[in-house]
């Protein structure tokens, strides 16, 4: 009987992983705030019993570099799918401002009332759950931003979601007022309480530099040379993906 062995080695002189360099490494990073940015919406309640008229009291958070002022207005999401029933948002007063070094955090209050009757509403699923879509616009940056969020009427077993305890977040590191060095790996650490019964999403926001994994509760941040001498904000948010809740914490650090 004959026996044959083929040993084949293909040596690529420019690297077999050239593919990874074909991807866009120079894309902007989501954690770096370089223009007016919507950070999220905190709602007094996202899930309502069927037939409830609410209202939901909203706090819309936006972060802007000093010198740029966001302007909030109600809007309509005309491109939403039919099962997102449009409801109106009403702004309440002027936006409150908090200085965060070379940035300003804006908090705009608003309310959303629900229709209270099912007639004319498009259900989201066979159970008859209903999703309400509110929209707002933020201008003042390079381009206008359309922000949207959802409120719910849930039926049957989904109604258990009404009793969800939304997650909260504590920013452990860095400390407020800390000095951080350009080019060094700065530990970013946060801890989450509650939210055991739903999926959560973490988001870090920084005024410059690069965060290794902006979705991880614990990660590292490296400030840029361009940020030397500035006071930059470091913010962390946690969202409950079922309750649609938001908790936001922040500190300001000095880049040396």
């Amino acid at each position: 009987m004959s026996f044959r062995i083929n040993i084949l080695a293909k040596i690529f002189f420019t690297g077999a992983f050239a593919f990874f360099f074909a991807c866009g490494d120079d894309n902007r990073r989501q954690e770096v705030v370089d223009d007016i940015r919507i950070l999220g919406v905190k709602s007094s309640q996202s899930v309502f019993a069927v037939g409830s008229t609410g209202p939901a009291n909203l706090e819309i958070y936006a972060l802007a570099p000093s010198g740029k002022t966001p302007v909030f207005s109600a809007a309509t999401d005309s491109g939403a799918q039919p099962s997102r029933n449009s409801v109106s948002l009403a702004l309440a007063g002027a936006a409150a401002q908090t200085d965060l070094g070379s940035f300003v955090l804006y908090q705009q209050n608003a309310t959303v009332a629900l229709p209270g009757v099912s007639a004319g509403l498009v259900p989201a699923n066979e159970k008859g759950d209903v999703v309400f879509r509110y929209s707002f616009q933020v201008t003042g940056g390079k381009e206008p931003l359309l922000g949207v969020g959802d409120l719910f009427w849930l039926r049957g077993s989904s109604a258990a979601s009404v009793a969800l305890v939304p997650p909260t977040i504590t920013l452990n590191s860095p400390n407020s007022g800390a000095d951080v060095e350009v080019g060094e790996d700065i530990k970013l650490s946060a801890s989450i309480s509650g939210g055991a019964t739903e999926d959560v999403r973490v988001s870090w926001f920084v005024g410059g530099g690069e965060v290794v994994n902006f979705r991880a509760a614990t990660t590292t941040w490296k400030p840029d040379e361009a940020d030397r001498g500035k006071s930059l904000p470091v913010l962390v948010a946690v969202r409950g993906l079922t309750s649609r809740s938001l908790d936001l914490k922040w500190v300001v650090v000095n880049v040396k």
Binding site: M1, L8, I11, T14, A22, G24, N125, L146, A216
Partner: protein, 753 residues
């Protein structure tokens, strides 16, 4: 005293036989062994020459199957002092008798044959748009050396980046069916290097029909790809171990088993990817890496073939496993680890037992019962798609040959066939309902589909066709009846092809027909599907001109038109609706130099236009596979028996893509969602065209019993890197081109021993 002298005498006579190296092992003959240089395989039928003249005294002497040529000593002493040994297909060997007296092993170098002998591969059925490529040609010029991918170089065929399955005349890959003989397989290609499930050693040729195919194939509206396996017994037992660094390792054994009149040919083998063992430690050590991708695959093959005087038996058993583990920071996450994980895995077992039985000169019967078990396991961050499908299918065909007019032998053929199949299985699905054609599909926003249920689907195909010669006409009328029990839908598909021989060199050809395909299981299975769907339909029209300019040069020019309707689309009210329409037309040019000992190649050009309308009232848009121009040139040339050149050129225009129309920020997910905006925006812009040239030079170094092959080349040579698509910043503010590979020079080292 006498005993002592006798012993001494015996010693004198016999001692030289033991101690002299110059004395032949057999005192009665000179024994020479002939082996092929580079493999060590024995060479039979080697003959003795004096220079270049045959020796009459030795005319009846040949080396046997073991390569041994025994020349009786008495004859040997009469031969001239300089001899040569020759065998068709090998360089001659010359040597002196004094050297040959030592009973050497002689290694003959293979020689390239004359170039006027062409290789002919038998086309299973004559069809207007069918092309056939031998596995020898395919292995040389197909991408990655995977012979089944040669279909991508033929007219009417496009590809998508990183996919092995092809787009045929504008039809999506899922509308084209892949057969191994008549075994319908759920998937052919692995993700790693687009290797096919079938080892090349089992393959005889690759055939593709890009439209207007006959009634014997159903449930396809695009094309039909047929991978024909070998039907001849292996020449000798052989075990091949392949180590393809760093991608995979495999072993294949082939041999004949059994004796007597009907031995069996056996092929058994397995392959396993190894690249995951290299990638996992790398990615685990780079936890901060944005993306980690670990593909893996395995496959196994068992084939038994028994050629018989009146037919054939063939048993096939295939195992396929393919998957990918992906982790990234960029997928939406559902916990504080910040890492999204995606696991995709598909496995199947496909089996069939084929019987071809020639009852007499007129009747032939083919049956191939098949069983397939297909398992899909996809998981992503809490979503899951688990599907188990069993399928039992029967393929039966009866053929009757008959004569008409002045035919000397029966050239006409009547074929009838039935194909019942039963699918049953389970689905356990908890996934967002998505439109795979939506370029901005947001799975987090999509409604969730949750189904846990079992299903069964009965399908039935009945067909008949005629191949009838009427003077210079060959007409092929046919019909196919198709039934899908799940949606209780019938179709009756008439088909007609014709060839007209203008003269010995030129002929005209035409085809027209109706083709049907069932909706996919998830589209028609309640509660997430719509059981009121109908079979999708496609009408093919082809007109063409074929020429055989010389024995080696042939060409084909075809004009085609295809119109599909009842194509399944997502619908908010009924989940799915058959409202889509596709219209494709174009022209194909194919110029081919048939394979000979030195050279083969072809030029293929396709112009086509493909338009899609998703529903009445919606605008007509470019199909995502509307690629106007595709030009391919492939070629292989042997300068000598050990030195070969090859090339593959691709020039193609860009495909459409959908620009982002509007962007919203969803506060509930912290994500930016791109949307099409107006319906007219879909596929409204085009990627740039691209060119790609692959060149190689290959040299074999033949040592005695093993071969070293060096192949130096460069892939993806182009003026600019091809653009596969567009990608955006996280907020869609900037659009960037997603480009393919830069030119990659390489050196491939292969040893066979």
């Amino acid at each position: 005293m006498r005993t002592l002298f006798s012993n001494y005498l015996a010693l004198l006579v016999f001692a030289p036989l033991f101690f002299s190296a110059a004395v032949p092992a057999s005192a009665l003959a000179v024994s020479l062994t002939f082996l092929e240089r580079g493999t060590g395989d024995p060479i039979s039928k080697v003959q003795i020459y004096a220079q270049d003249s045959r020796l009459e005294d030795a005319a009846s002497l040949y080396s046997d199957k073991k390569g041994t040529l025994e020349v009786p000593l008495e004859l040997w002493q009469k031969l001239p002092p300089q001899l040569s040994f020759q065998r068709f297909g090998y360089d001659k060997f010359s040597g002196s008798k004094s050297f040959l007296n030592t009973n050497p092993t002689i290694y003959l170098r293979p020689k390239i044959a004359a170039d006027n002998v062409i290789t002919i591969s038998a086309v299973k059925r004559k069809e207007v748009s069918r092309k056939i490529v031998s596995v020898e040609e395919a292995e040389i010029v197909a991408s990655g050396g995977e012979p089944t991918r040669i279909t991508a170089t033929l007219p009417g065929v496009q590809t998508r980046p990183f996919q092995g399955e092809v787009i045929v005349r504008g039809s999506a890959p899922e509308d084209t069916r892949y057969y191994i003989d008549d075994l319908l397989v759920p998937a052919v290609y692995h993700g790693v290097g687009s290797q096919s499930v079938l080892p090349p050693q089992l393959l005889d040729n690759v055939q593709i029909s890009t439209g207007g195919f006959g009634a014997y194939r159903g449930e396809a509206t695009g094309g039909v790809v047929e991978l024909q396996t070998k039907s001849q017994l292996p020449e000798k037992p052989l075990t091949t171990l392949t180590v393809n660094l760093p991608f995979y390792t495999g072993v294949l054994h082939e041999r004949s088993i059994g004796k007597g009149d009907s031995p069996w040919g056996l092929w058994v083998g397995a392959r396993k990817s190894t690249i995951e063992y290299a990638l996992r430690p790398i990615f685990e050590g780079m936890e901060d890496q944005d993306l980690s991708v670990v593909p893996f695959f395995a496959d196994g093959t068992l084939m038994l073939v028994q050629p018989r005087e009146n037919g054939l038996r063939k048993l096939k058993l295939l195992y396929y496993l393919d998957g990918i583990e992906l982790a990234t920071n960029n997928l939406p996450t559902t916990d504080s680890s910040g890492r999204g994980q995606l696991g995709i895995e598909r496995s199947y077992i496909a089996s069939s037992y084929r019987k071809e039985y020639r009852l007499n000169k007129k009747w032939k019967y083919v049956s191939e019962p098949q069983y397939i078990f297909d398992r899909i396991r996809n998981e992503f961050s809490g979503d899951k798609l688990f599907i188990d499908i069993h399928e039992a299918r029967l393929f039966h065909e009866w053929q009757f040959r008959y004569k008409t007019g002045g035919q000397k032998r029966a050239r006409n053929k009547l074929s009838l066939g039935v194909e019942p199949s039963l699918q049953w299985g389970k689905v356990d699905i908890d996934v967002p309902r998505g439109d795979p054609q939506d370029p901005f599909f947001e799975f987090e926003e999509a409604d969730q589909v949750t189904v846990e249920d079992s299903f069964s689907i009965f399908k039935f195909g009945l067909w008949g066709s005629l191949d009838h010669q009427l003077g210079k006409w060959l007409v092929q009328p046919g019909f196919r009846v198709q039934y899908n029990g799940q949606i209780d839908a019938w179709s009756i598909d008439p088909r007609l092809s014709a060839f007209y021989e203008l003269n010995k060199k030129h002929s005209l050809k035409a085809a027209a027909g109706l083709y049907s395909i069932s909706p996919r299981e998830q589209e028609s299975t309640e509660p997430s599907g719509n059981p009121d769907l109908e079979l999708e339909r496609s009408r093919h029209f082809v007109l063409g001109w074929e020429s055989q300019w010389t024995e080696q040069i042939k060409s084909s020019l075809e004009v085609f038109y295809k119109w599909n309707d009842r194509m399944v689309q997502l619908d908010a009210l009924t989940n799915y609706v058959g409202s889509g329409r596709l219209r494709v037309y174009g022209v194909e040019v194919f110029l081919r130099r048939l394979q000979s000992a030195r050279f083969f190649g072809w030029l293929s050009y396709t112009y086509s236009k493909a338009d899609l309308r998703k529903a009445s009232g919606e605008p007509e848009i470019a199909s995502p596979d509307d690629q106007r121009h595709v030009l391919q040139l492939v070629s292989g040339y042997k300068l000598s028996s050990t030195f070969r050149l090859g090339a593959r050129l691709l020039v193609q225009s860009g495909k459409p893509f959908s620009p982002v129309g509007e962007v919203v920020y969803h506060a509930g997910f912290d994500s930016y969602q791109g949307r099409l905006g107006a319906a007219e925006n879909e596929n409204s812009e085009r990627l740039p065209g691209s060119q790609s040239l692959d060149l190689f030079a290959q040299k074999d170094f033949l040592l005695k019993r093993w071969k070293l092959r060096l192949r130096a080349g460069a892939e993806f040579i182009s003026y600019e890197r091809p653009v596969f698509g567009v990608e955006y910043d996280f907020d869609f503010r900037n659009q960037n081109e997603f480009k393919g590979f830069a030119p990659i020079p390489y050196l491939e080292v292969r040893s066979e021993f």
